[in-house]
Symmetry: C2
Subunit: 797 residues, 2 copies
């Protein structure tokens, strides 16, 4: 990092319940992390995503108003074509942006780059779900005003986002004009290097309808290729500290709705504008129905009013935090990041409602807004225990895309379903097959998420109605993808596992392990749901075949080292020259060709370690520790998905200090922009990983086969931590201190759990405090590739 | 094949010295193979390529006038970018086309699709190097004329192509107008599926200059991106059977030069036009110098005149055929294809003069006009023995691109030079790295061609001036590309060998074998040329390292089968389901995803078999036979490069009948359009393979380490064959009959050779006739994948 970057470390203020940022300068605004802040201050409910742009729109890095599922299609360019390459890509679209409120002070537009900014503060409060902003600004003409805005994307009203914007005159009277807009022609940032792709995305919307008057406005547009209609409606309420509020006036064109309010403010007087914006989209609803829905949502929100919306948001979040809060004593940055992360997980999915959970949520255009395996592998394990209905909805979305997945499997000459590596609507959009098409583990990841969800919630209806079909179709894929050898072992050749610095390997351990579980789960589910099974033409022979195949699954093993192998022969490959790789050559994929990465022992992100995490019971503690140490020495963490898994497994093998370092890195990956890519959106899966590392790593939580188990340990600088979860109808809190754990069952009937090796029964309302056994010597701290040690938050660089 | 295609079998007339085609219909012209004929009737000298279009330009599939080295640059599109992906591609450009001569008969343009075509014949005469055409046509208005044209691309005047066009009136007087053109705005056929690429290529030239008058015209243009200037000049001479010839008149614009000649022909009278066209290009010469060169070449050619050009062409080819002719008795189709093939090899390279030999020569836009390993691996082994100066020039071209290859190696973090997988000017243009970047064997293929050339010619000057540097830089590549294992073996991991249905394999046998020879050759050359070696900073340590590395090279071996393995672990992979693959699913890469091909035992084209061919001494006869049989059972021949190598090795292991079948397929791959892609140009390497199969396969010729050896055998339906070659200054002819061989040394001092295991000495002018020993039982004929047996020419399908 350059020294400029060094000073930018810890750029956000630390709050236990939020993230703040303040400045007293108004120069070099964009250079000083504007795009980064827009991502961090994003608000979302899983349906709407509003980036944390300034109210007045400028300066802005990427305006960012997204609706989950709204994308434009574009051609996929290839230098050399190949069979099965996807012809069309999809990119999330910036929809008409209702968050803009411009301010004019005595004919001078409020722009933080001009005049004098006495103070500027932003604070994302994750307890209330409100983004606060205050600014005191003196215009170039010498007029001073104070601006206080609050913004929310409602968790309780899915299509509603709202802003309250208040301007107060300082020591002199001023004329103020508020221009509240819906802006529909903002350009998309460069999401693809190919101009042909960008051509398709440059002007994606055609106008459908627009109207407005008074304080109301509606714009309806439709994407040109994907034919998705979007309606954005707004209404306004004005109040004044000095008598009757002025009337708003609205003009609307196809691309811009502008509601203006003018007032003369006496010194100390203020005017406030509340704006509610409704968002609806559909690929098939007619335009009128769509705009009616958006306007109806706005009308409801206006009736509830700003304070009502704030109250509802707080109630929603109170309930969430009561259930799910994670407290950390002794490490205020970790406390901040634990809650910020959990809030981001919630934001990404709370109201997605049978839409995907993109890798970056709705916080930016990174990865073109695509969903990967991140959702099922990292995000759903958290949602399942803290917001199970959101987990159910996300899996229902996967179920809704089964026809696309079946078509893809058929194209690949496989049976069952081949879920896409990256997509928005369920169709494969990956343009690099060695790390796309053949990352077949996505299918098992989805199956595992189904199993986990059903097991943790007991939602048998979901299993019957949707789960069985997912399990059956993914199980079928494995049977045709793999092959039997002469000794009766089943191999899965030529696939890419989680580690993207390997590709097209045979018997990736993680893939085979997950496929094995997928096959067994399909067999189990079909035995439980015989009607569903026959509806899917599952015979008893087929069930038997799944079981036989699962039992015969090959797992590569490095006998010399006594550890499982990431894939067949991996540990025999040449070791990457870590000593000879300078720091500025990371991330490696930007400085070395794939072929060189693929043929050597170098791991981008947890792969075998992810298998250790996913199936702790499949490995003895010794094997786990050896395997973790070996692969930690090869893992460069060029992916945000890596540190959380490393933290989890490090904690489990007793490497608590190392686990804390990985956890700290995971927790600040976005706040400190460790990968220098947060401008394009947050890493939602990494945020989920923070919870996972705390709960499954330090908490030692396992929920395999119905037996909930904890083995918690605190590590410095933490002095204590606690977490909550929902499991099979029970609400449970676990409070961990250095020497003891307190389990509190908040509700529900008695619950049997294991505390380390002890079986105990929890009764609702009765706290149980149990001692923590001494930690066995975990041996020396595993070392990492030179220069790739975890970046501990707060450490000097 | 459809029945329509069946009837199109043997569509060309069989001549011992040429290829003919005639028709009496003038409907459905384009459907009936127009593009195919344009490729087959292409004329070239390696500098100019003129496709065999009709003189009048229409109907035409692809006009096709190419100059070796003239290309336009275009952006390379990728759905997902990666480090080291080439940013710019190159595509051969159609230059201003000087072969067009339109005819107007009493105001009716001669067009074979109109009026009545009594007869139409084309004949490519490979003995004279002339393309003949005759047509008798009655215009819609009822006027009948006979057209006789002859076309040549001169072997003796590098930049000259010429046409003689004669029209004769039949039984009525007619007014005829001849419009002889240089056409500079003909559109390029679709060479790439990406519109962005085509946009860059659609209008590639900008005008630079044009002028003309009388019978003369010149057009100078320049490519917009690659900045290559092209000058095409023409002059004309008119003669008449009825008195003074009319004067030509020329108009020239930036895009079109048109020389017109008008005459009234009495019944039986004729007018003839001779047109000489000069072609020059340069990336750096100034425009005036360039056009002066083109015009000077034309002036010289006009002075020599048509008959003089024809005589020179004949003399050139007489000399060539005297040296190089291949005769085949008993199989007239094989006789035809043997000479046609040899002529195509000559055409591709004769006057290329330090330019590349593209995969399709200058006969079409297939592969965008790129050069691959074909040149060094298939074409140069022939040229070295029949036109060594062309081989030298091709290698000098590779030498001239060393800076590009060094840059590429550096980009890949390798030492030495990494030659491009596909290119026009030496810069890598491959857009699919698994079959491009990592096909590193190209480097050893080039090194092997250097060694072969120097050994076969004794051209020590070339070795010193250029060869050493190529050998050194390629040897350096292998040292950094490979790695040492703990047992002291040297491995080359993650490469792609010749077989494109495997990729990114470890220890590809062919690659390692060729790399081993590359290393040894570099060491040998540096010991012979110490000054050159020190100029290249080669130390004795480095030489020792090459030798040590070569000695330690790992070669995968299948102990169970007792055969070398195509790559490490290849023979353990799942076998492709050949039985379950219907005929219409070939070529496999158009119907199956790469990942599935890569992970299974299925071979697109000779790979291990190519190693058997390249290094016969490295394998015992038993191992060779077993390995050939094993891999023949896996090889689907979805590449034109495969059958010739299979023919060669089949002949060597005594599978003569199978060898004949492969040879027949190789010989007719273009004439019968077996791969349905000849429209885009001829398969020059496959043509070279015909010679190789006859000489190195049936002739048993080996020239390893300076000891020339023959072990010839005739196979039915051949009753005898003969071939000639130049070796170390000797001209040798070998005439093979069923029971005996006659060796004739045509010139030079005495030459020691081996006939089977017998050492003999040949004296110039003294024929030696020696018996052929009985063929040992070669065992059963190897079988091929179902439906992929060789397609014997003439066999009913």
């Amino acid at each position: 990092m350059s020294s400029e970057d060094d000073t930018a470390q810890h750029r956000f203020d630390v709050h236990p319940w939020g993230v703040g940022w303040s400045c007293r300068r108004n120069t070099g605004w964009e250079d000083r992390g504007q795009a980064h802040r827009e991502s961090v201050f994003s608000l979302s409910n899983g349906h709407i995503g509003w980036r944390g742009t300034l109210d007045e729109g400028d300066p802005s890095a990427a305006a960012g108003s997204y609706l989950n599922g709204v994308f434009e299609e574009h051609p996929m360019p290839y230098a050399e074509d190949g069979y099965g390459y996807p012809e069309h890509g999809q990119t999330v679209m910036h929809v008409p942006d209702g968050k803009v409120i411009r301010l004019i002070v005595d004919d001078e537009p409020f722009d933080i780059r001009t005049g004098e900014l006495a103070e500027h503060r932003q604070l994302l409060d994750v307890r209330t779900g409100i983004l606060h902003r205050t600014a005191t600004w003196t215009s170039p003409a010498g007029r001073t005003v104070t601006i206080a805005s609050q913004r929310m994307v409602s968790f309780t009203h899915r299509s509603i986002a709202a802003v309250r914007y208040e301007v107060t005159a300082a020591d002199a009277a001023v004329d103020v004009t508020l221009l509240s807009e819906i802006v529909a022609d903002e350009p998309l940032p460069e999401v693809h290097s190919d101009p042909r792709v960008m051509d398709a995305l440059r002007d994606p919307f055609e106008p459908v309808a627009h109207h407005g008057g008074g304080g109301r406005a509606t714009i309806v547009q439709r994407t040109r290729r994907s034919r998705i209609a979007v309606a954005v409606a707004a209404d306004h309420r004005v109040s004044s500290s000095q008598g009757a509020a002025p009337e708003p006036h609205t003009d609307v064109s196809a691309d811009l709705a502008r509601t203006s309010v003018r007032a003369r403010l006496d010194p100390g007087a203020s005017i406030a504008l509340v704006k509610c914006v409704g968002h609806e989209w559909s690929p098939d609803l007619d335009d009128v129905a769509l705009q009616d829905r958006a306007e109806a949502a706005v009308e409801t929100a206006m009736q509830i009013g700003w304070d009502g919306l704030v109250d509802e948001q707080r109630q929603y979040l109170d309930e969430f935090w009561t259930r799910a809060d994670v407290t950390v004593d002794g490490d205020e940055r970790l406390q901040q990041s634990a809650r910020f992360s959990l809030f981001q997980v919630l934001q990404s999915a709370a109201r997605a409602e049978v839409r995907s959970i993109p890798g970056k949520g709705l916080t930016g255009v990174g990865y073109e807004g695509h969903t990967f395996w991140d959702a099922e592998t990292f995000v759903l394990p958290v949602l399942t225990y803290i917001a199970p209905s959101a987990a159910r909805d996300a899996l229902a979305w996967r179920h809704s895309t089964l026809d696309h997945a079946r078509d893809r499997a058929e194209q690949l000459h496989l049976e069952g379903a081949a879920f896409p590596w990256r997509t928005i609507d369920g169709q494969e959009c990956s343009g690099y097959w060695p790390a796309g098409t053949v990352a077949f583990h996505i299918n098992a990841d989805i199956a595992a998420a189904v199993v986990r969800y059903v097991q943790a919630t007991g939602d048998v209806d979901f299993e019957r109605e949707k789960g069985v079909e997912i399990l059956v179709e993914t199980a079928r894929l494995w049977c045709t993808l793999g092959r039997w050898d002469d000794e009766g072992a089943f191999h899965i050749d030529g696939v890419t596992g989680p580690d993207e610095y390997s590709a097209m390997v045979d018997d990736n351990f993680f893939t085979n392990l997950m496929a094995q579980r997928n096959l067994r789960a399909a067999a189990d589910a079909c035995r439980r749901h015989r009607d569903q099974a026959s509806a899917l033409d599952v015979s008893s022979d087929e069930i038997a075949r799944w079981t036989t195949t699962a039992d015969a699954m090959a797992f590569p093993y490095d006998a010399a080292r006594g550890i499982p192998e990431q894939s067949a022969g991996f540990n025999e490959k040449e070791r990457w020259d870590f000593e000879g790789t300078p720091d500025d050559q990371y991330p490696l994929q930007k400085h070395f060709p794939y072929f060189d990465l693929y043929r050597k022992q170098v791991v981008k992100q947890a792969d075998l370690v992810l298998a250790l995490q996913a199936a702790p019971d499949a490995f003895t503690p010794d094997v786990t520790a050896r395997a973790f140490a070996y692969y930690d020495g090869l893992t460069v963490r060029d992916s945000s998905l890596s540190a959380p898994a490393q933290a989890t497994v490090a904690a489990r093998v007793g490497q608590l200090d190392l686990a804390m370092d990985y956890l700290a890195e995971a927790g600040t990956i976005d706040l400190d922009d460790l990968q220098e890519d947060v401008d394009e959106g947050l890493h939602v899966a990494a945020h989920a990983g923070v919870w996972n590392a705390l709960v499954c790593g330090f908490g030692g939580m396992r929920d395999d086969g119905g037996a909930l188990r904890f083995a918690p340990r605190v590590a410095a600088p933490m002095t204590a931590f606690s977490f909550g979860m929902l499991v099979r109808g029970h609400t449970l809190r676990v409070e961990v201190q250095h020497d003891a754990v307190t389990y509190r069952l908040m509700s529900g009937p008695a619950l049997g759990i294991r505390h380390f090796d002890e079986e105990i029964t929890l009764e609702a309302g009765v706290a149980q405090r149990l001692g923590i056994p001494a930690l066995a010597d975990p041996g020396p701290r595993p070392s990492q590739p030179r220069g790739r040690e975890p970046r501990r938050a707060g450490a000097e660089t």
